[in-house]
């Protein structure tokens, strides 16, 4: 089936929804998503969204900008970070006007709380900057924006899997999608496409991410010629529930929660004397694992305790209700009485599809773009998070840059007509791919390959990395890619064929895993979330540069670098 729109948005999380709203009622817009819109993973964001509103204490966007630059270990592009933090207060007020039900202060303003790495006066003390709705901030924003889109009558194609981008003469003019309920292929012919497909946390065994977070958009853009940027920077959130990886929000520490080792010691005091438990995530994750390595894990095992027993029932009930439920359900822990067993969990991709600050997708280090193709949100890399994202900056990123994507697409579509597809069937290539998979008689199963990939990535390319292991992972990944050629599909049906979806997702994840590992191997320094045991120091002389990756088929990607944009803050040693 063929559809025509001005703009097709892939992904119904916050970046996609915000872009759709910005496009306005006179733009024919379709949103396609592999899950029903409100199931998008933006809804899992818990703790808050950062903005220097100054509702609780004095604050300035420049302080927020500094914290974000320092949090990024100076790898974030400062022009983009300035846009992000300057636009933050406006973004919050706009959300509030749309109806987002933020918690309130006693005088009726939007309440704010402390979060990791956010400080006053350029690092002096922790500051209350995160706007929140209990510990379900992402969920209420997702609901509000989705409902705004319903009001606007935007066309949703829920449970449609993106398969390929249609690119003709360097111009993106649509996508092919697979309707999960029927197995039918649809072509969405459009002037412009926005990828807002989220992250790829399912590359790792222990992850806070949804099953849907398999990096489809990143991989599809990569294969279509887009450059990926800074892929080696993968955030491990310090406090996932032990063994499960389910996220326990940083808001817990923002509200006063404390990390303790097997001696009951508040060990973060030793590592970050000024802001202690509210140090940025890359540092806290490393500290937890250092404690565990030195035998200070609880009962000698690989976890520590997150203690909120001193916070009081009322605060926990009114501000941390969701995570109390998670601890009770999954760990059997009553947070009022016992600490939560936690360990680092794969949480966020700082890297992604290289874009400029107007969300245009770039193909190389010369800032060349694919006309009509845009990306925003976790799947994109602007880069505002650099080597490490601060908590509550991701909701801000998706909304600020989702809006900017909408705005620049709106400008773009008025400059062109609907590109011609000149009689060819744009779904033919995809139909062939699917037929090949469905008819394959190979012996491989996608879930086995996925499990192996998740294990090697978790064991070798997570918080600590080393040359020897990374080399082996590169070899192993290339073997896994080969084995993918022999995956066969046992479900021969057309209705909700999850087997087929799994087989496609594993190839996406492997392409991305390869870029992550290659970046980790090539970057011979430690910066932000990327820590090399064999190169434990930051090397600004040689590595104050972004990594860029270009797709090379069965071969590992081509690796390039490009300079970081520095405006206000020269790189300094990063201490908290």
């Amino acid at each position: 089936m063929n559809h025509q729109y001005d703009v097709v948005i892939v992904g119904s999380g916050l970046a996609g929804l915000r872009a759709a709203i910005e496009l306005g009622e006179d733009t024919r817009t379709a949103i396609i998503s592999k899950v029903f819109a409100t199931r998008s993973h933006s809804g899992a964001a818990q703790g808050g969204i950062g903005a220097a509103l100054g509702n609780e204490e004095e604050d300035h966007w420049k302080w927020h900008m500094f914290d974000t630059v320092k949090g990024s270990d100076y790898l974030g592009d400062q022009d983009a970070i300035e846009i992000l933090t300057r636009d933050a207060p406006r973004t919050i007020f706009e959300l509030e006007h749309m109806g987002v039900p933020f918690n309130r202060t006693d005088d009726g303003k939007i309440a704010q709380r402390a979060f990791g790495g956010h400080t006053s006066n350029f690092g002096k003390a922790a500051i209350k900057r995160a706007c929140y709705a209990a510990d379900r901030t992402g969920r209420v924003i997702l609901d509000t924006l989705w409902e705004k889109c319903l009001q606007r009558g935007i066309d949703f194609f829920n449970e449609y899997q993106i398969m390929n981008l249609t690119v003709r003469d360097g111009q993106c003019c649509g996508v092919t999608a697979y309707e999960l309920a029927t197995g039918e292929l649809h072509h969405f012919h459009s002037k412009s496409v926005l990828l807002a497909t989220g992250g790829a946390g399912k590359i790792y065994r222990t992850s806070s991410n949804a099953f849907a977070s398999t990096g489809d958009g990143m991989a599809i853009a990569f294969r279509a010629g887009a450059a990926l940027e800074d892929m080696e920077f993968v955030q491990f959130h310090p406090t996932g529930i032990y063994k499960l990886g389910i996220l326990i929000s940083e808001a817990v520490r923002g509200e006063g929660g404390i990390l303790r080792n097997n001696e009951g010691e508040r060990f973060m005091e030793r590592y970050a004397p000024t802001i202690k438990d509210l140090a940025p995530r890359d540092m806290v994750s490393r500290c937890i694992l250092r404690e565990i390595q030195s035998g200070k894990g609880i009962e000698g095992k690989d976890y520590v305790f997150l203690d909120l027993t001193h916070l009081g029932k009322d605060l926990i009930a009114s501000k941390l209700g969701e995570i109390s439920g998670f601890a009770r359900t999954y760990a059997g822990v009553d947070v009022n009485k016992e600490p939560i067993p936690v360990q680092p969990t794969c949480h966020y991709m700082m890297g992604g599809i290289a874009t400029d600050t107007d969300s245009r997708v770039k193909i190389d280090d010369q800032n060349q773009t694919i006309a009509g193709l845009y990306a925003a949100g976790e799947c994109a890399c602007v880069s505002v998070h650099g080597a490490n994202r601060l908590g509550c900056n991701s909701l801000l990123d998706v909304l600020v840059f989702g809006r900017r994507a909408g705005r620049s697409m709106r400008r773009y579509i008025h400059t062109i007509g609907l590109p011609s597809l000149a009689g060819d069937d744009p779904t033919a290539e995809t139909a062939e791919q699917i037929a090949k998979l469905m008819n394959s008689t190979g012996k491989e199963r996608s879930n086995i390959i996925r499990t192996e990939m998740q294990a090697i990535m978790m064991d070798n390319v997570s918080v600590f990395r080393h040359k020897d292991a990374l080399r082996k992972v590169m070899d192993k990944l290339s073997l896994l890619k080969e084995r993918c050629q022999n995956i066969s599909i046992q479900d021969k049906g057309r209705c909700f064929n999850r087997d087929l979806l799994d087989a496609m997702e594993i190839t996406y994840m492997l392409d991305l895993a390869e870029a992550i590992t290659l970046g980790a191997l090539n970057r011979v320094e430690s910066r932000g979330a990327h820590f090399r045991e064999d190169y434990p120091d930051r090397d600004d002389q040689n590595w104050l540069v972004h990594s860029l990756f270009r797709y090379a088929g069965q071969e590992p990607p081509q690796f390039l670098t490009k300079p970081v944009t520095i405006t206000d803050f020269e790189p300094k040693e990063r201490k908290y």
């Binding site: 899992a44 109806g99 933020f102 309130r104 319903l150 949804a210 998670f326 359900t329």
Partner: protein, 237 residues
Amino acid sequence: MKSTFIIYRYDPEVDTQCRYQEYSLETAPTDKILDCLNRIRWEQDPTLAYRFSCAHGICGSDAMVINGRIELACQKLIRDFRTANNFVIEPLPLFNVVKDLIVDMNPFFEKHRHIRPYLINDTDAPERERLQEADNQQFIEPALRCILCASCTAACPISRANPDYFGPAALLRSFRYLFDSRDAATGSRLAQIDSSDGVWGCKTMWWCTDVCPKGIPVTKCLGQIKRLVKEKEKDRT
């Protein structure tokens, strides 16, 4: 421990009617039911269909009937069941089955859309936030926990008897906007639901509250709406 899963199956391309299929699986007490379904699908039967995504009770994809009760498959662990080695798993009632445990949720979301689930306020917005009392935000807070999993509506006996009834989930969303002090459409919202298909359809049977996986006091919230309708009526007379 060996557990048996008896699962409702229906494939529209093959089956003329539903059937039940039995699987057995080694399980641990801390396994989620969703983990078990995943393992059955990965290791035994890739054709098994069900919805899932976040796997920790926030996306609302995987409401289904487990041993006769509506639950989220990702929020129930093997150890939560007394008959820990025997499970019967079926799709949500009320909705048409598309395949296996997947139901057609369109009627559910149609009703959601019908109640105008967005803030209505035509006055010019101030430069900063609209002020709202903390108590007012806390009053609607229970409704903010809703993840649109449809458990309440699927459980509701009235929804089963009257297909035109808005159902508890849509009415709960109504509550969320009606009592939000920033919303200016109270009158027209109340007019829309002041009927037996609307809030008066609720006969206070508590099934919605009972099954809500987020612990929302749905019946109580609907009761607040009824009270508001009555108060406004009194104001008029």
